[in-house]
Symmetry: C2
Subunit: 286 residues, 2 copies
């Protein structure tokens, strides 16, 4: 590698698709000066239903690719990807690697007063017990109640985020968490921030809602790698392994702003070649 | 109603789709002389992602329709339908109504030696805690460990029931149940009997696998309403609210035998009119 990594180097963020853009949205909020390369592996989305070993391979591949772009930090903006590959990538690469699970777990432990934390996510995330392990590592006396809510993803994807039908579904799927009187709930899926208000409404206003996406951005800010010398607004470059137009169209809602340009990256390019990072970081597409 | 109900009257069995055919398969095995009307509400499948109140309405509608056909017993061959509507239907109709949850729960309590039972099903079934409630009603000291495994349904539907990929997925999703050392596992989804061997392999041979589908058939046999005076082989009539050909094609695999004829029933017919049962039960299509 010939790139010199410094505080102006971009952050590499990736997800199986567009869900991780909720993490990028929070990075924009807490660290507006950062340059970012976001990679959505839309050709192989979703990761959740795949064997963990396969997901780990994808995570290693994409992390290697991003590292070759000269990123100063890699963010696995994907719960399944974090559970499957964070530890391996962190060992293999010389740059910091952070996932979405530890930041969410840490914030929840700091927030709870009763010691009862709820976790919701896809079936893969919940059955992996990754949040349970991350929470127990901090405080083994915490009681954890979890529920797989895969149906929420479908509603968010179709843009139905506040229908009465979804309100009913949320009340049903969250019923046991409400009965268990958790005082803190972790949104353990990058899609859920788009229905945070609806979930909060269902849980009751006294329950603190922890967004893993937001906590991950705050964790990055704490790392002290910030692009302090840069202009107020960083630039982002978007790459997708499937249709760029589709990514642009669907991704904007997750990012909360328009996405101007998305480049296509083939799976072959991803696994085989090493792309050059532009010499002038300012040429990166906003 | 002018039908006279007797032991030769058919059993009414229904599900949101074809999954309930695994229950019918077991009815054929334990009660081969029974005549059956099976209704698959394929126009509104799946029930799992719907609000419980809506599912309850469907269950009341279909049960009313089947009752009007002169059935001697109604079987809700659907975990979501059972959770949503069994109690209401049982109160409203003068014939016995049984669901798939209590028989599975009862068999598991009778089987476990360690008092630790695992339950797997869709997210809706698991989050409803219906099996937990049914088990605790019998023995409140039983420890229950559950996991939502919606991905298994997708594999069964696409006919991929023994791929190495599914073996990996099963090991991953069942890991916590294995670690918890449950000695009995309830298949709380009508699709799962098609991958019973694969699940058993993943859990380990010392874990008893309870099929709610099979236990439901055994429960029906215990009711003593059997068509003892009938010929050795009962006849079945199949109704579907969506494409009958699609039902025939996909359903045969769940039933374990060819389905000759499927009648189409519109949602309007279902909710509005009352169909006549053929005077001669033998005219029902096998």
């Amino acid at each position: 590698l010939t790139h010199e990594i410094n505080s102006r180097s971009p952050i590499g963020v990736f997800d199986s698709g567009i869900g991780g853009l909720t993490v990028l949205k929070e990075i924009y909020r807490y660290l507006p000066a950062e340059n970012v390369i976001y990679l959505g592996d839309t050709a192989r989305v979703p990761y959740g239903p795949r064997p963990l070993e396969e997901v780990k391979k994808f995570v290693l591949e994409i992390s290697g690719f991003l590292h070759a772009q000269g990123v100063k930090l890699i963010v696995i903006a994907c719960n399944t990807g974090t559970a499957a590959g964070l530890q391996s990538v962190a060992k293999l690469l010389p740059v910091p690697v952070i996932g979405v699970i530890d930041p969410g777990a840490k914030a929840a432990v700091n927030t709870t007063k009763t010691g009862r934390i709820g976790v919701i996510g896809t079936a893969g995330t919940i059955n992996s017990k990754s949040y349970d392990a991350a929470i127990k590592k901090i405080d083994k006396n915490i009681e954890i109640v979890s529920a797989a809510c895969p149906i929420f993803v479908e509603y968010v994807e179709k843009g139905e985020t506040d229908s009465p039908e979804l309100v009913d579904l949320a009340k049903f799927h969250l019923a046991q968490l409400i009965d268990s009187k958790v005082d803190t709930l972790i949104l353990g899926c990058t899609h859920y921030p788009l229905i945070k208000d609806l979930i909060s409404e269902a849980m009751g206003k006294e329950v603190s809602i922890i967004s893993s996406a937001e906590e991950t951005a705050k964790e990055i800010a704490r790392l002290g790698l910030s692009a302090t010398g840069a202009a107020a607004n960083g630039k982002s470059r978007f790459l997708a392994t499937a249709d760029p137009e589709d990514f642009k169209l669907k991704g904007s809602r997750f990012l909360g702003r328009a996405i101007e340009t998305v480049e296509h990256l083939s799976i072959e390019d991803l696994s085989g070649s090493i792309l050059e990072i532009p010499a002038d970081i300012e040429s990166l597409v906003e």
